[in-house]
């Protein structure tokens, strides 16, 4: 093997190994950071994990928003018209959060079956429905199995 070829081979091997390591790292890190989405129906059916964070989306049930009198904790329920789950969040809600609005919450279920959210997302467009939420509403209304 000529020296140039050898050098080139070393470079290529180093690059392939590097890219391999990168891919391996990326994929293993996915395991901890992938966030699954579930609809309220799925959560009610017990399909959502209890110990792992996930996202849930639906409409904020009319008349369900209750705020603590001293702190910043809010409780409300989220529905896909078939099932309803309770959500608790401490902090400032987004501008577009209101009853009847489609939102997505990120957090985890506690033992009592309350979804404790650490982030609530409402879109910056009043006509905009998060695609996930639109999907769950559709399947819930058709009475089919929610994916």
């Amino acid at each position: 093997m000529t020296p140039t070829r050898k050098k080139r081979l070393i470079l290529i091997v180093a690059m392939v190994v590097g890219v391999g390591i990168a891919t391996a790292l990326a994929v293993t890190a996915f395991n901890d950071n992938l966030m699954f989405y579930f609809s309220p129906s799925e959560v009610a059916e017990g399909k959502a994990p209890v110990d792992h964070p996930f996202r849930v989306g639906g409409l904020v049930t009319n008349g369900s928003v209750k705020r603590q009198s001293d702190g910043l904790t809010v409780e409300f329920t989220l529905t896909d018209t078939r099932a309803t789950i309770p959500v608790r969040y401490t902090g400032i809600l987004p501008d577009l959060f209101r009853e009847g609005q489609g939102i997505i919450a990120r957090g985890r279920l506690n033992e009592a079956g309350v979804f404790v959210a650490d982030e609530v997302l409402a879109k910056h467009d009043e006509n905009y429905m998060p695609p996930e939420v639109a999907d769950s509403l559709k399947t819930a209304q058709q009475g089919g199995d929610v994916r």
């Binding site: 140039t4 050098k7 070393i10 470079l11 690059m15 590097g18 890219v19 990168a22 790292l25 990326a26 890190a29 996915f30 901890d32 950071n33 992938l34 966030m35 699954f36 989405y37 996202r55 705020r67 001293d70 702190g71 910043l72 401490t90 902090g91 400032i92 809600l93 501008d95 577009l96 997505i104 879109k123 910056h124 467009d125 009043e126 006509n127 905009y128 998060p130 695609p131 996930e132 999907d135 994916r147």
Partner: protein
């Protein structure tokens, strides 16, 4: 009237684009100079007609012509004039019009500024740009015509999304688009060179200023976008790994790799095919970014109304561009001979490693961005890739890049004795290692391994840059020589120093704000003081204020350092009238070493409000670094050698290239 005028102008621009895409290209193969000379005039004409179309739409907004659907959806008689103007690109159709206007602007610039190029090259570059323009104009005319009429004509428009009523956002999209679209020129140069089969130093030199200019715009656009998000969204965040941010960041990373690779191709004639691939990739990333933003396939804060037909069109266009250019690449690249040899320890190797790392990071971001789409398409469920994943990937790979950035500028082309390189850098390395460890030691609040890593790397960058400058000065003997360098043809070195300095500044900003910031959501009653990061934030209540087209609840928060009053913040909650959403306007006290930031949450009744308070140390440094990088780019582009030498060579290469084109 103006609507029809604009519509016709669009159609005429499309006709010209078709001519521009075909006639000069055909001329370049048959050697017909008349056909080739059609390129510049059609490119100019296309720009003129698109400018007319753009002017017509703007006229629609200024005259409140709500018979145009787009104006009715985004305009309003109450809108201040500046936002009537920026509303032109405030939504999908108009921003596309801006996009093609810029594309044709770049095309016209190429036509006017590349007269010194061999005619064959210029003809092919313009033809490729014409093809890109055809794609976008068809897309506009078939799926997103901004001049569509509305009947019955509403009495009042729906107005511009309040979120976009901000001076920063009036300029952010144009800058970003200039960057995105600018890579089409690098792409066109690469394809034209491939078609001619001559990927030489001259091609790289022609391509460099265009690529760098596009990169400058993209850099500024991203910087401004980050600053806007921080100011306007009221979450105090400056980067969210939002799909749309990623869409602008991926072409930036690939574009950065391209700039460095072009340098090698110009100076040493190496990496030719790799450079071409990068040019194709950078533009493809720009198109992919457009696809992600426009098709609405991803949930993002940049929610544009989605329409499946648009997504399908852009996806088809993207596959034509990527597939077509890769096919040309596969056809021509094997005939391209490799360039200059280089040793294992040489500047070429460091730049190659820089390229690989940048591309790997861009690929990872791409993976994280489209992974949810793939997952959903395969029916495995709906997922999102969290913020922490992106951070983890970035923090894993960027340090290597930054380490190399320290060595690269000091290494010589072709060959550098490793022992000499180690001798030069060992002190700088030792010092930055010590600084890094000092910042990682838990002797003060906020110290962490990441803090040490960030500050250590910033020190490494700064020290090695200083070494490179000192070396340069030693060879140049003093300040007068530097001045001569700057006024003649030696700007590129100082441009590099400036841009790398920008990276160090941004790195310091990111490290400090990420590790030392403090944030709290609190419930505050008037007179109540809250301590955060050593500052006392006193809430002085909220009163109502009338703005030009909104009603605001305006809070007053007085900030104390000990007993001394240092700032008064006025966060607002704005309401732009019935049917619109409320908007949070943050109150910020700006400083070099820290920002104090407050935004209003909800009215909790009884004078109490939910308030979000932040202490953001060194956050401005993030954007200052971005500006330094752009200035570096500007200095590089302004180098007279791109004009002087090229002009001198042009007559000699013209005949050569023509012959090459026929072969």
């Amino acid at each position: 009237m103006s609507g029809e005028l604009g519509h016709f102008a669009l159609i005429l621009a499309l006709c010209l684009a078709v001519v521009q895409a075909t006639v000069p290209l055909a001329g370049s193969y048959t050697g017909n100079r008349t056909w080739m000379s059609v390129g510049p005039s059609t490119a100019t004409g296309q720009f003129v007609f698109l400018a007319i179309a753009f002017g017509a739409l703007m006229q629609g907004f200024l005259a409140d012509d709500f018979s145009i659907r787009y104006v009715a959806e985004n305009g309003n008689t109450q809108l201040p004039v500046i936002y009537k103007v920026s509303a032109v690109w405030g939504a999908h159709e108009g921003s596309l019009l801006l996009w093609v206007l810029m594309l044709s602007g770049w095309g016209m610039a190429v036509a006017l500024l590349s007269r010194h190029l061999p005619q064959v090259m210029q003809a092919r570059v313009l033809s490729v740009l014409g093809m890109v323009a055809i794609g976008f104009l068809l897309f506009m005319l078939f799926t997103s015509n901004p001049f569509e009429r509305l009947y019955p004509v509403p009495a009042e428009g729906r107005s511009l999304n309040p979120l976009l009523q901000d001076p920063g956002l009036a300029v952010h999209p144009p800058l970003l688009y200039m960057g995105y679209v600018g890579f089409s020129v690098a792409f066109a140069f690469a394809l034209a060179a491939l078609l001619g089969g001559k990927l030489d130093a001259a091609w790289a030199r022609w391509s460099r200023p265009w690529t760098t200019t596009a990169w400058i715009f993209l850099t500024l656009g991203i910087t401004l976008g980050s600053w806007w998000a921080y100011n306007e969204l009221g979450w105090g965040g400056w980067w969210f790994w939002d799909p749309v941010e990623n869409a602008s960041f991926m072409p930036w990373l690939v574009g950065t790799a391209l700039i460095h690779s072009l340098a090698v191709t110009e100076k040493r004639g190496a990496f030719k095919t790799w450079t071409v691939l990068l040019a194709i990739a950078a533009f493809s990333m720009s198109l992919l970014g457009t696809f992600l933003v426009r098709s609405g396939v991803l949930t993002s804060v940049h929610a544009f109304a989605n329409d499946p037909a648009r997504g399908v069109f852009i996806l088809a266009f993207l596959s034509v561009v990527v597939g077509g250019s890769l096919a040309i690449y596969a056809w021509r690249a094997p005939h391209i001979r490799g360039g200059g040899r280089f040793d294992f320890v040489s500047r070429e190797t460091f730049l190659l490693a820089n390229n690989v790392l940048l591309v790997v990071v861009a690929a990872l971001i791409l993976l994280g961005t489209v992974f949810p789409l793939i997952y959903d398409a395969l029916g495995w469920g709906k997922i999102s890739v969290g913020f922490p994943w992106f951070n983890k990937m970035f923090v894993t790979f960027m340090p290597f890049l930054l380490l190399l950035m320290g060595v690269g500028p000091l290494a010589r082309w072709k060959h550098h004795d490793p022992a000499d390189l180690v001798r030069r850098l060992r002190l700088a390395f030792g010092v930055s290692l010590a600084i890094g460890i000092a910042f990682a030691l838990p002797v003060y609040q906020g110290a962490s391994a990441l803090m040490g890593l960030g500050i250590g790397l910033a020190a490494w960058l700064l020290l090695s840059l200083w070494l490179a400058v000192r070396d340069r000065l030693k060879h140049r003997r003093g300040a007068r020589a530097v001045l001569r360098d700057l006024t003649t043809q030696g700007r590129s070195f100082y441009a590099m120093v400036l841009a790398h300095l920008g990276v160090a500044v941004t790195l310091i900003g990111i490290t400090l704000v990420a590790n030392l910031e403090a944030e709290r959501d609190v419930r505050m009653a008037p007179g109540h003081t809250y301590e955060l990061a050593g500052y006392g934030f006193r809430f002085d209540g909220v009163r109502n204020v009338q703005g030009p087209n909104y009603l605001a609840a305006r809070g007053t928060i007085t900030v104390f350092d000990g007993d001394r009053q240092i700032a008064v913040l006025h966060p607002e909650k704005r309401n732009y009238g019935p049917g619109t959403m409320p908007m949070t306007e943050s109150g910020i006290d700006v400083g070099v070493t820290r920002d104090l930031y407050a935004s209003l949450g909800e009215d909790l009744g009884g004078g109490e409000w939910a308030v979000r308070l932040y202490y953001k140390p060194f956050v401005r440094w993030i954007w200052a670094g971005g500006i330094l990088m752009a200035l570096g780019g500007l200095l590089a582009v302004s180098d007279p050698r791109y004009r002087v030498r090229v002009r001198r060579r042009s007559t000699a290469t013209a005949g050569e290239a023509l012959a090459g084109g026929r072969a």
